[in-house]
Symmetry: C2
Subunit: 110 residues, 2 copies
């Protein structure tokens, strides 16, 4: 049982080199990660032709890009990047930020 | 843009009759709902052969069943019901509870 209950905020680990992804669960259907961004870290804008991605802001404030727009995502807000929409995240703040991220299907597990 | 940013807690609506589901996004790949449970309300234990489900507790405390075990899910905790595992939720508390729920793939959109 215990491996099926997670505390995403406590799972966060930060890396000085780049944004860190902590995987909580994955299958061919989806992955669920915690993205951990120190100030200045980002995931560049990209898109997936066939995969939807959800960002749920846990702590701090990361900026999310969805298509042509970029805005801050506050804790408790959800950002949706449907398949085909360019998207990315960037921590423009002075504090660490964490996001719960789900993508379906999982591009890494065929 | 605005329809791609949601505040799941603010989206919650409670129904006296039964647990209410508020859809935030859906595609064939996934659905993302807010489950809104008044005290005593539940979703009975069931399973999906080919779909994974994630519950992220937003407010209040709902009990989640995963296989043979049932335990309270506190705000900030994530419960994972992989495909094939019986699962359900029940609000055994005296306060409303909300959960952010993702299922992939979406059984309702072929």
């Amino acid at each position: 049982m215990s491996n099926l209950i997670k505390d995403p905020i406590l799972a966060a680990i930060f890396n000085d080199e780049k944004m860190k992804k902590i995987n909580l669960f994955e299958s061919p259907n989806l992955f669920c990660d915690v993205y951990c961004l120190k100030p200045g870290q980002s995931q560049k804008i990209h898109s997936h032709a066939h995969n939807d991605k959800l960002y749920y802001a846990l702590t701090g404030t990361a900026h999310v890009t969805l298509g042509e727009e970029t805005l801050p995502l506050a804790p408790g807000q959800l950002a949706i990047a449907p398949a085909g929409l360019p998207h990315g995240v960037e921590n423009r703040s002075n504090e660490n930020a964490t996001l719960l991220v789900v993508m379906a299907p999982n591009p890494s597990v065929p």
